[in-house]
């Protein structure tokens, strides 16, 4: 292996080891450290000058107290479960909102499709924070939605939407919609029109052709889109923090508060480790799905 190639690999490799892998090891380590002594520097500190005994005593002082604490305080249990629940419901809602849009795009005239694509991608380039923020004005007690509904006489009391889980669902659907539309659109656009004609030719009505052909064939896009929404939604912080209420429990928010408000770093680290364990399964599934997709395309 020549020098250039070595540099080519080593520079990004070492960067990631230093700024991704090692920090993560530190998180795991701190999650095993003691709460009471957890103001920096943490106890135990890792001291190689102590020799083998130092290493041994270091490991003997690590324990799973923080994780035990997580299981004992039902705040964390509820936060994990509620994150899962919110992510699942929001993903399904996003799918229901995205599918008709993706379908309409795929059926639009070919000369229109690049423009429609751009219209879907444009919000993605716009600040996430601003997109979440834009809903505060709409959903608040005296917000535009309540003004409109009151004005139309549909309600006589302003609805309380902001600071509830409903607002969080709306926020997730809104901000992650492009992630769901794009993969579904990609599969629908590739769909060979003659397959639908073949289905009709063989006796299907248009609706049953949709159920028997279009929907099963767009499944890879649906699966990819669901993962792309579900995975970030679980660890979401900004949306529950701005749109959710004090009773909205999401693990990203708990971690943030544990860290910034309670300053309990070891517990925050333990929360992070558990969150990651929670995400590993869907991430692996997603990875496998993508791989299968790629192989199918070859």
């Amino acid at each position: 292996m020549n020098i250039r190639r070595l540099v080519l690999i080593a520079v990004p490799y070492l960067w990631l080891v230093a700024l991704f892998l090692i920090p993560f090891v530190i998180v795991v380590k701190i999650s095993l450290s003691d709460t009471a002594l957890a103001i920096p520097p943490y106890v135990p500190t890792f001291d190689l000058s102590g020799g083998w005994d130092g290493v041994k005593s270091y490991f003997s002082q690590l324990d799973f107290d923080n994780f035990t604490f997580l299981t004992e305080d039902d705040l964390y249990w509820r936060a994990y479960l509620s994150s899962l629940k919110i992510a699942v419901i929001a993903t399904v809602a996003t799918l229901l909102a995205a599918y008709p849009i993706a379908y309409g795009m795929a059926r639009a005239a070919p000369e229109w499709r690049p423009t429609l694509m751009m219209l879907v991608i444009l919000p993605f380039w716009t600040s996430f924070l601003i997109r979440v923020y834009s809903w505060i004005g709409i959903l608040s007690q005296e917000g535009y939605l309540n003004q409109l509904l009151l004005g139309l006489g549909l309600i006589d009391q302003p609805l309380k939407i902001l600071n509830t889980n409903l607002a969080v669902y709306i926020g997730i659907v809104y901000t992650y919609l492009p992630f769901m539309i794009l993969p579904i659109y990609a599969t629908l656009e590739k769909l060979d029109q003659s397959l639908l004609e073949a289905a009709e030719d063989l006796g299907c009505s248009r609706l049953s052709a949709f159920w028997l052909v279009t929907l099963p064939l767009s499944r890879p896009g649906i699966v990819a889109g669901c993962f792309l929404v579900f995975i970030p939604a679980i660890g979401e912080f900004v949306i529950p923090s701005l749109l959710g209420g004090s009773r909205t429990l999401m693990i990203g928010k708990v971690l943030w508060e544990e860290f910034f408000s309670n300053r309990d770093w070891p517990v925050a680290s333990a929360v992070a480790v558990v969150l990651l364990l929670l995400l590993i399964v869907p991430i692996m599934l997603f990875q496998r799905n993508q791989q299968k997709q790629q192989e199918a395309e070859l």
Partner: protein, 272 residues
């Protein structure tokens, strides 16, 4: 061929795009509201833009954000392109699986974890939190996005072009510079733009890694909007939305024009 563009499709697209764009539209309209009461319309005014321009805190935060974004996205583009090239072109080296894992993991890692872990690292090595730590953090996660964008272009391009360059006497580095780079340039540029936007946009990781003197714009916005809607933020949002819209639309026009020119050239060549 027959394409059925039914009422269903038209309705789905209308409602879909209304949902995507109405909130931002309302934001823009109300940024020109004269009243401090954000939900009550009190006539057209550019008052809040004036307030914004004279708000030193915001200007400082914007300046920090811009510097961080330029530096980190440039560094991320270099590192990400290297990583992509290594992953696509070097089939086997020790630790390759770990390497590709580290490229993809940050894409799915929740921001809170990335931010927390980097902060703990900076404390462990005794690095003071400031602009440098934000730049390091942003470079790390955005290089992974750049790498994914660039490698998808590298995978799709014809390897024999590179081999032809080597055959004609280029050193591998020459071949990369004079053949590969021009071909993957669009992907590198979009990688840079992506990294730049991600950096501009990031709140969570910046919050963990920023020091008291290095407040970024998203941190500033977040602390302002936690208290509710503010007309100044509406004005700021409008400016940011406008910049992004103009940028994206002009970029897509440029790429469309170059595609159209290419098609026209090809047609001309056919006729000759």
């Amino acid at each position: 061929m027959r394409r059925r563009f039914s009422w269903f499709n038209a309705t789905a697209l209308t409602f879909g795009f209304a949902f995507l764009y109405l909130p931002m539209l309302i934001l823009i309209i109300y940024s020109f509201n004269g009243s401090r009461l954000v939900t009550v319309w009190a006539g057209f005014s550019t008052r809040w833009y004036g307030v914004l321009i004279h708000d030193q805190d915001f200007l400082n935060a914007a300046w920090v954000t811009l510097r961080v974004a330029v530096v980190s996205s440039t560094a991320a583009t270099v590192l990400g392109t290297m990583a992509a090239y290594a992953l696509v072109r070097v089939a086997r080296f020790p630790g390759r699986t770990l390497f590709s894992g580290m490229i993809y993991a940050p894409l799915v890692m929740p921001d809170v974890i990335t931010g927390l872990s980097l902060l703990l690292l900076f404390i462990a090595v005794g690095l003071d939190r400031g602009i440098l730590t934000i730049v390091l953090a942003h470079t790390t996660f955005s290089m992974c996005y750049v790498s994914v964008v660039v490698s998808s272009r590298l995978v799709s391009f014809d390897r024999s072009i590179e081999e032809a360059a080597l055959d004609l006497g280029c050193t591998p580095f020459d071949a990369f510079r004079s053949v590969t780079l021009p071909i993957i340039a669009p992907a590198v540029i979009s990688g840079w733009l992506l990294a730049f936007t991600l950096s501009l946009d990031d709140l969570v990781i910046s919050s963990f890694t920023a020091g008291p003197s290095s407040t970024t714009l998203p941190i500033r916005i977040y602390s302002a909007v936690r208290l509710g809607v503010s007309p100044e933020i509406n004005a700021l949002s409008t400016i940011m939305i406008t910049i992004v819209t103009v940028g994206v639309i002009s970029a897509s026009f440029m790429s469309k024009r170059s595609l159209a020119r290419r098609a026209a050239d090809e047609q001309k060549a056919q006729q000759q």
